[in-house]
Symmetry: C2
DNA sequence: TAGTGGTCTAGACCACCAA
DNA sequence: TGGTGGTCTAGACCACTAC
């Protein structure tokens, strides 16, 4: 490992800014398997000496690899190749709760509550939930983990009429809704990607800037009333969403047209 | 705008590293509307003087906002609040091509070809396409844009038997497949998020590290043969995928079980 | 040409971890 | 206690843009 960055190697490593060259050198070492998960990199000061760069430049070269989750830095300890994270796959075409979904594949689910209570609704919530004047909203915010690994942040808003006592929700929101006879039967989700901000990244235990999957879900009762408006952030490196597509039908009365006319 | 960063403001701006404080200050100014799209920030050297920080620290504070697309930096010109990018929404439950999808909402589509040809398959392609010994693979790599804005990178692999002449593909791959009588009727997609590497970021005209939506699609003929194996990267800030969910049925023979048993 | 962001340096101090 | 990463500085040169 100490022969990773001889000054000679570094000279030949191609064009571009020095920190990009270093980034490429390390990324290739990981991709080729010369650096394996759990391996440690030389200390930053050593890498600087070996390459002839300043420590600031070395850190800049390493930065993107840390941000993308390929390297892990531990203060006081060192820089390591990240362990392989097992990707979980979730089927997108079914309306299930996180708890149910994990249970189905035999995983324990832990929830850490960040906030739980009744509030005056934000304008966004009034819109999404179709609230009237004076209506209150139940908010649930928690970090979902499986086997000790944080996987997602979930921020749910429901009309207080449907969930007057948010404190009653323990593991599964849908279980509580089911008991109250207001389990949703239909939902529309929007999926996009975003870099995690400092707060969200800390909640998920990853560096700021890592790519996350952002999912907005609006769920409906059979009557058409909105049950929940949930914004979730999943770790991009730990989650896959899978969906099956069918050939676009010619008739106009299908789900897609309702979603994106 | 020049009163954004008085030393006084900065003193009160709370705890944490200095660059985080600066980041928060700017982020709040954008969120609150005090900084609007198109507005310019003071030059880095000026911000350093106004806050009492070094320029390196100012750059570090701005960095995350540039990576997440909220700010745009132009060498020789300045730092600006990013224009609002109109988010496009794509329905996930239908099997349509990019070209058809855009046409349906009245948008022009441009494709820039990066590569197009017949090759010996990579192991990954042999697996996904179910190729036999000696089979060749047609590869199509292009950047998809709409109204001049790059939206996605598309890397498609097909059995050469189904597409012996990749050069024949112009705008729509599915149109060519349709003409050859081998248009897919079913597909399975996997969606995740990833930070864009330098190469992909450059193709999409965004900074390295921005969050992108990564989509892997495998499409099938009615016979069950695989038609295409496509890996796409969408700009996370420009694309939403929408999908409608239904209540999970109790029977075991449904799409989700086939996708994620 | 003057001003901007992009890169890079040498050196410093701190917080944290492991022996 | 010694070594690690985390933060920060003052100053330099370059490439590019706008005038």
């Amino acid at each position: 490992m100490s022969d990773l960055f001889t000054p000679a190697d570094f000279e030949e490593s191609g064009a571009g800014p020095l920190y990009v060259q270093l980034h490429r050198l390390i990324a290739e070492a990981i991709a080729s398997g010369r650096l394996k998960p759990g391996d440690s990199l030389p200390p930053e000061r050593d890498m600087a000496a070996m390459t002839g760069l300043s420590r600031v430049t070395v850190r800049k070269g390493v930065e993107a690899l840390v941000a993308s989750g390929q390297l892990v830095q531990k203060r006081g300890s060192g820089t390591f190749v990240a362990p392989r994270v097992e990707r979980l796959e979730q089927a997108l075409s079914l309306l299930t709760s996180f708890t149910e979904d994990m249970a189905r594949r035999g995983r324990r689910v832990e929830s850490r509550w960040i906030a739980r209570g009744l509030h005056a609704p934000a304008p966004e919530e009034v819109m999404a939930l179709g609230l009237g004047a004076g209506d209150r909203v139940a908010r649930l915010e928690r970090v979902r983990s499986s086997d000790g690994v944080p996987l997602a942040i979930e921020r749910a808003s429901l009309p207080a009429a449907l969930l007057p006592d948010p404190e009653a929700v323990e593991a599964s929101l849908y279980a509580v809704l089911e008991a109250r006879g207001s389990r949703p039967v239909r939902a529309v989700q929007r999926i996009s990607a975003a870099n995690l901000g400092p707060r969200d990244a800390e909640l998920l235990g990853v560096p700021t800037g890592v790519a996350g999957l952002r999912i907005e879900r609006v769920s409906y009762l059979p009557s058409g009333q909105v049950v929940e408006f949930t914004r979730s952030l999943y770790r991009g490196d730990a989650y896959d969403f899978a969906v099956e597509l069918k050939l676009a039908p010619q008739n106009q009365d299908n789900a897609a047209e309702r979603i994106a006319p």
